[in-house]
Amino acid sequence: MRSVWCLLGVLSLAAACAPQPARTKVTAPGTPGASAVPHALVVDFRDGTPAEVVAERARQWGLSLRLNSVEGVRSGIAIAEEVDDVDAALTRIRREADVEEAEPLVRMEALAFTPNDPEFPKQWNLRMLHMPEAWERSRGKGVVVAVIDTGIAYEDRGDFVQVPDLAGAHFAAGYDFVHDTEHPNDDNGHGTHVAGTIAQRTNNGVGVAGVAFEARLMPLKVLDRAGIGNSADIADAIRWAVDHGAKVLNLSLGGPGYSAVMERAVAYARTKGAVVVCAAGNAGTGQVSYPAAYAGAVAVGAVGPDGQLAPYSSWGEALDLIAPGGNTRLGPGNGILQATIDRTDFRKPVLAEYQGTSMATPHVAGVAALLFAAGARTPDEVEKALFQGAASEAGAWTPRAGHGRLDALGALEALGKAGLPVDWAPLIWSAALLALLLLSLRVKVRPGFLNVLLNPATLLPLLLSTVGLWFLKLLWQRFVGHPPAAAEVLSLPIPDWERILFGRGRLASPLMYSALLPGIAALVALRWRALRPVVAGLSLGFAGFLLYAAWAKAPGIAYLPFTFLARPWLVLNGVLAALLCRSMLRREAGR
């Protein structure tokens, strides 16, 4: 019986290792975008059915049957049109022995929305995000996106004008923190350009399109005519935005100076359920600027039409995503084109092509709005979908691409797939590892698989170190409200605790992602033998977690000099933790 459980454990490990099914892009019949062609059917004959037989059958059935293509000779696929009663014909055809399958002919249409804006063909940036396909699923309806910038050319008032391609766009009331008025008009052009990327009036036959064109723009002016402002105004605007219903905050601005006030404002926005999206900076160095570098902000770098990191884009440890920001070194047409006001005369609307991480940021903010409109409830869910849906060459986080290149369709698909916010794989790996460890023990000192696994003293630390008490946060959200920090922490696996407690960005600490904690626990257990089942569970959990992390190309490990050392480090510590667990199990049994 024991070996059966061991076998099951090994099998579950194999299942966890199995490659994920490729993301399917084919539209199946019965889904929107596929429609039956009237009076037409398709017959799939057995492979190698001669053309004469097909012709003979056609005569028998009274159909004008023809092979579908040159491939039809080999595949045996033929179609018939002008069939009076498709259902009756199909019933009859399906009875034949040389027919494999017969069904109504279905027309497939790519699910895509192509807006009629005349300059849309120049918006390579929106095609890079797969916007036409994504717009079939969400357009950001009703989600409030705050544009914390130089203002927006959103109204005709005094010298200020509304940009024609924003006429009919949706706005929420905003504020001008520079002049302390309730009319945050744009006297620079930057904020209007950024707002256009988020929610330019789309399919209106004018100008260009925007990512989330049914979202509501909240103009917040914090930068003066020169595009410069101070951290106090920006921090105020962040708080103002979330207190007035914004779910997404776009900050296409930054600087090298750290501000505790602004960091707290970002954290506040996050606890209020808003996603804060910030530009990584244009210094072209390995240091992301503030506020993008604060924990809780999504830091966005820029790529050109070639998908490569733009030469001006900053990158580094805090980078989360890359998105189209343009690269005008590649020539005209390679920047980001939006409607805005002339930079030398704010009374004059223009279509302008700019480049910068400021231009990349609103793409991410727009997709975040699409995700909220598509049903995402928390910033965590939005971020997870953004990161999982990103196009990644490395398949893992890297300092120059973050989690990958923004993809609106990918993000919406990832949101649809998100089930419980928990990754079971480390637990499965631990269970399989337990089976292997038990098999490596002599029969006399080998405890039963289930006896070990179902012992509460072992199971609790095992759960805590592999999946965390993930249900705690969910229950809290459902019955109490916003969970306290302690519930947030306990909801995560132990190796990830440090990342919440100290907010060290996206890299894991090499001390938490190591066999250090199980090692210390084992030393304690040398003195107090009763702790052995607990230490066994803890070290087993760490072993499964670390080895799975290595296999899944887990997050980079901070402080290690080279990123390629991360995986050997994880494997080494995973094996150490497994050996600790083995010794705990054996001594327990040998007592």
Binding site: D149, A226, G227, I228
Partner: protein, 71 residues
């Protein structure tokens, strides 16, 4: 503080004038007249780095110009 360097225009965001300093840092120039803002001009700027300032250019510290002289 005084910084020596070369004035350059960068086609980033709305366009930005920077001082590529001889101290190895790149500053965003804030203020200064058109006689300062000339591509390739070597200058010495007397000014202050505004630590609390942030902006759309994000190329480096923002240097508020008090005085300058062309070298």
């Amino acid at each position: 503080m005084k910084v020596r360097g070369t004035v350059e225009f960068r086609e980033l965001e709305m366009g930005v004038w920077v001082l590529v300093g001889e101290d190895g840092r790149t500053y965003q120039i804030a203020g200064g007249r058109s006689s300062l803002l000339k591509e390739g001009q070597r200058v010495e700027i007397d000014g202050e780095v505004d630590e609390a300032a942030m902006g759309v250019a994000m190329v480096g510290p923002i240097l508020r110009v008090r005085r300058y002289r062309v070298l």
